[in-house]
Each structure stands twice: as structure tokens, then as C-alpha cells.
Symmetry: C2
Subunit: 379 residues, 2 copies
Amino acid sequence: MNFSPRRVSMSVRPALHLLPLELRIASIGKDDLPSFTYPLLQMTLGLLGQQSSCRQNHFFSFTETKNDYSLILDNELFKELIQFPGSEALQVAPESWRPLTIEVGAFGSLTGISKLVASVIGPLADEGVSVFCLSTNQEDYVMVKEKDLYKAMTCLHPCFKLLAELEQDVQLIENFSHDNVPNQIKNDLNYIELPSPRSITHPFTCTASKFHVCSILPSTLPSIAQPLLQLMFYNTRSDDVFLSLSIISDDISMVLDARDIDKFPEDSVYSSEAYWKVITIGDGPLGFDECGIVAQVAAPLAQADISTYYICTFYNDHTLVPEGSVTKALQLLNKYLMSSKVDNSSSPVSVGSLNGLTHPPSQFRTEPLPRLPLTNPVA
Amino acid sequence: MNFSPRRVSMSVRPALHLLPLELRIASIGKDDLPSFTYPLLQMTLGLLGQQSSCRQNHFFSFTETKNDYSLILDNELFKELIQFPGSEALQVAPESWRPLTIEVGAFGSLTGISKLVASVIGPLADEGVSVFCLSTNQEDYVMVKEKDLYKAMTCLHPCFKLLAELEQDVQLIENFSHDNVPNQIKNDLNYIELPSPRSITHPFTCTASKFHVCSILPSTLPSIAQPLLQLMFYNTRSDDVFLSLSIISDDISMVLDARDIDKFPEDSVYSSEAYWKVITIGDGPLGFDECGIVAQVAAPLAQADISTYYICTFYNDHTLVPEGSVTKALQLLNKYLMSSKVDNSSSPVSVGSLNGLTHPPSQFRTEPLPRLPLTNPVA
């Protein structure tokens, strides 16, 4: 397998939406869920309810892995979570994040993060902007730190119409400078190159379980509360547990162990493809400052036309690929795994010198994170 | 209004079922619900699930009043509740209770506890057996303390075929002595007299709210989880809150504030009559040892052909009457309220001397209960 950079047609200049939400990323320890059940159930029931007004302008993502219950919440939901005694057990990433969604034009049959590699993921990595990604069946959300927002939008501006959603209005923002545009974009705004695969800095694993990536209609939500809450709060899967629910206004997706689909009433959840496999990136916490991880993983998969859902959690990243492509995907990732190691196997990997990683990670840790102090989200 | 004792036809000798369950009565303080949400949600989701096997042989009753969340649970569910940290905040009645259900023959149009006054409630009060009652749309459950069980069944034996349900089998028990039969029953096993109204020992109140007494089909339970859990855990009613859910195998009932019925999908809950009012007995905790309270309240209502649902909670008793009968019911209860007071208004009420109360209450308290130690249910 040998991939040369390809040029991808950007026949239309797609829109990049900046959602009017400030997000917090948090983690509940596997043993601490009972302490958070009351506020977490309250917000979940509110979002599952029949009134779509409860969902408007909310961002809720809940992912159970073997390590923790990982949450991405808008500020309002986050405040609900921390108002109860016991919330000091919550781990919270220290900074706020801003979600961008991208309506992408013609990228062939690719879905998920793969289709954003050329125009978003690669350029942000080259600019030293660390990202937190969440794919759903409808959208891919790329989150950047509040403090990196201007840099990120400046970097993405040449490829996109920038739209900021402010309450009900959508405003076009055109006042970004073109000085800071990555070279491969500057050459030709209608054709951009898929970036060359980079060295992959973190090991990855893939368990035996198979998953469904499901869509749920908002009108169906109330009727699936019983099995959904049962899975969220009382999942009996052990080591290879992976369950993800995201409710972002009316964009509702779930990643579900294939063995659990029968717990839902017939025709209540819609699966886009038969089975997906979860590849987990990192054998220790990845932290929030390292940049380029998504680009490292997604670029070779995009080159090989493999669709990729990408779900970042508090500790690790997870890339989902169709079951039929998993062998090829793992071969590709293995090819680039710590490739600098092969060149110079006697010396330890110098993270800062890896291809495409312009900013060395300041939080590169291999030990479990210390409990972070609870940051007051109120500015 | 003047009621003379009436004779009620017992054209068939109905069956009295002793369920193979040991019940615990517990109370969660209004501020302590978050600590119990995890185990309480777990058992509720299990009971709401589609598999009726999860409901078989379970007894679950949850009643929210302005004072507390009152629970009647079989031993297995009770153990689920107390296995988590924080369960020391639970108040638990010190003894175990055994539930009896009675298939009653021809009692005219009466429903609820009213139809049991002559054959069950009155005789047990006369025998000094304190009871804890729970009406549902299908059954009336009369609970007696484990230690009073033999006495209770001996007392009720002349009127009923005694059936003990042991796992899947139902056994006819006929080895009770006739020595201890109350006189009004002994005279004629086919006709028993409604007992004369007794003095009512506790004041009562009736709030403005109207309620539905609803039946729920087991197959419908999963689909109403969202609004049901929302009401159970996040009820926003204040002073006159009353919400009761009972799931006893496939006998599922709910007492619901009329303003909340719209939260449930159309045709998901069935209401037996338009509106009911809740009359709350006691202005302080009633305790568990006083006997005769149900008989005092239910007898005059039965005499006047008023149907009565009766729901005992940890602190108070509650009798539900149809909205159209509430004025009459309150007049009747007022007539008998502390009637000995009228005879001898200068001296304080001597509780032990009240008509029909053969055993003075040992736990007659007017102050809030002290927190009881958590009793280990494992014998």
C-alpha cells in the first residue's frame, strides 16, 4: 500500500457553522455514577421529553468506555450536573470548547471525519490547534478551545463560508485575514490536497465487539427512555463496553453494542450500516493539549476511502470504521504507528519532532490523570 | 345522617390470598432523594421493562407526599435499595409485613377498602391487629405484621377460604381454629354486619387538588418511562403533592394529579373515574402500632355507600373518595372525629378508651419521628 497525496474537489464552498454554545468536557469515574445519577437523569429525561424546546440549543454527549463516563455538555447542562453534593468527584477539562459543524460538499462516498481531513482536520493540526471531535449520523462536530477559536476560524476561512449562529440568527462572518492560510489551501480554493499520512504517536486497540451507529427520531425519544436509561446507568458489558449517546438539538445518535439492539422496540432506532468496529487510540490518557492525533488517524483512512466516525472522550479517542474495512484500517494505522521509531529504533520517540505535530503536547501523560479541581464554568 | 349497622350478604365465601412476600416499609426524606436515585431508578427501570418476569413476585409501591417519599417494597427490592452508600438516611419501619389480598363477593357497587370494612378491616381492628393498606385499581392489599399473621388469619378464617401462594402453587389452608372468631361473624357466616362507626382519633385534611386513579397495562409501561420517572423524581408540585405508583406483578396503578395527565401519551393510562380527592389522616406521624385507624375512617364511608381507595404511607394514611362524594365524606368523618371529646370536652382525649380501639397505641406520636436505625432485613 502506498498512498500519494490526492486532490479533492471542493466544487462548492461549504458552510462552517460556529454554534452559540460553550462546551465543557467532563468525566465521571466508573464507581462514581450513583453520585451523579440524580442530576444526570434529570437532564436526560428533559432531553428525552416530547417538547423539542427542551432540546433546542443543548449539546449533550454521554459516552461510556471501560475507563469512565465521558461527557460533553453545554454550560447550562454542566451547571445542572455540578449543583449537587458529591460533584467534587467530577473531573473537568480546564478549558471551554466551541463546537464547529461543517456542511461539506462533494467528497465522494466518504462520511464522518474522513471527509473533513483535507479541509479541517489537517489544516488545524498544522496550525497547532488541538481538537476534540464528535461524529454523529447527521454531523461532525469539531471542537476547539475557546482561546484557539480565532486562530481556527482564520485557518479554515479560505475553504468555508463562516457562519456564526447567534440565538436564532445566522450571521455571515467575512472579516478574517487571509494571511494565515495553510499553503495547500492557498494554492487553489477549489481543489485541496488530502494531507500526507503522518506518523501515528499513540498505540491503538480494537476489541471483538461489533456496534451499530444509530439515528433516533426526536419523536421516538420518549418511548425508548426505559431501555436507553437502563443501558446508560446499568450497562452490564465489561471490558469492551462502548456506548455513546449524543443529543444535539434534534440531531440524535447512538453507538450501541450490537447485542443490545434487541432491547429497543422495533423500528425505534435506525442503523446506518450493519456493523461498525471501535478502534481506541491511546493506552493512557491523551490529555487535551496535544494536537494532530485526529489527523494522524483519519488521514490514512481518508486516503483509502474508509468512512470514519470519530468520538473523543475524556481519556481516549475512538475511531469507528465499518466492520468490512477494519482489517485494512488496522493495517494502515499500523504502518504509520510511531514510524519514526523504525527510522531510529534505538532512541525514544521524540513526540515534538513527529511529522505534522507542530506543537509538542504539554499534557502528554501515560499515567491516570490526577483529579482536576472543579472549574467554575461561570466566567 | 344516622347510620345503623347493616347486614351485608356474603353470598359466596371469597378467597383470601396470602402472598409469598415479606414487605418492608420505608421513607426517604424530601431532601434525600438524590442519594437514593441510583438504586431506586434501577429497580423502577427493571419493573418498567418489557419482560414481565421482572415484575413477577415483586411488590413495589412509591408514594410522594408533602412529607416524604414512602415505599413499600418486597425484601429483594429493599435489599437493592440499601446496598449503596448513603442508605443510612433511609427510615425503615422496624418490622416486616405480610400482604393479604381478598377477592370479595357481592358488596354492591362499593369499591376499595369500603367493601372490606365488614369482613376484614373491622374484625382485624377489633382483634387488635394493626394494618397497613394499599388500594389499587385491581386489588386491595391489607398488610399485617409478620408477628400478627396467625392471629389475623385466624380472625378472618370464618369469612374466607384461606389461600397461601407459595411460589407457583396455591394451597388451601384449613387448619385455623374457630375459637377466636369475632362475634358478629360467628352468628352467621353468610351475613355479616357492617361495624358501627367508631370515634375517629386523628384529624384529617383535604387539599384542593384533584386526582386520577389510573390503571396501566404492563405492555404500556416501557413507553411511559420518561414522563413517569420525571414525575417520580422531579415533581414540581409543592404543598399538596400526592403521587402514588404501585407495581405488584401485573397489577399496576397510579394516583396522579389531574394536571399531570397530559404528560402521558394518549391512551397510555386508563382512569377509572373522572376525579378523586385525597383526604389525609393525621397531623403527625401515625406510627405502625396503633390499630383501628382504617376502620374508623372507612366504616362511615362504607355505611354511606362511598367507594374508598386507601393508601397508607410512612407518616400518614390517605383515603381517596370520588370528587362528588367528598363533601359528604368530610361531613361524616367530622361527625365521628374525636366524638368522645364532645361527651367530655373538658378532659383530654384518652386514646386507649376510644371506641373500637382495643389496644392503646404504643407509638402514638405527634412529633416527627426520630430517624430509625436501618434494620437488616436478612433474618
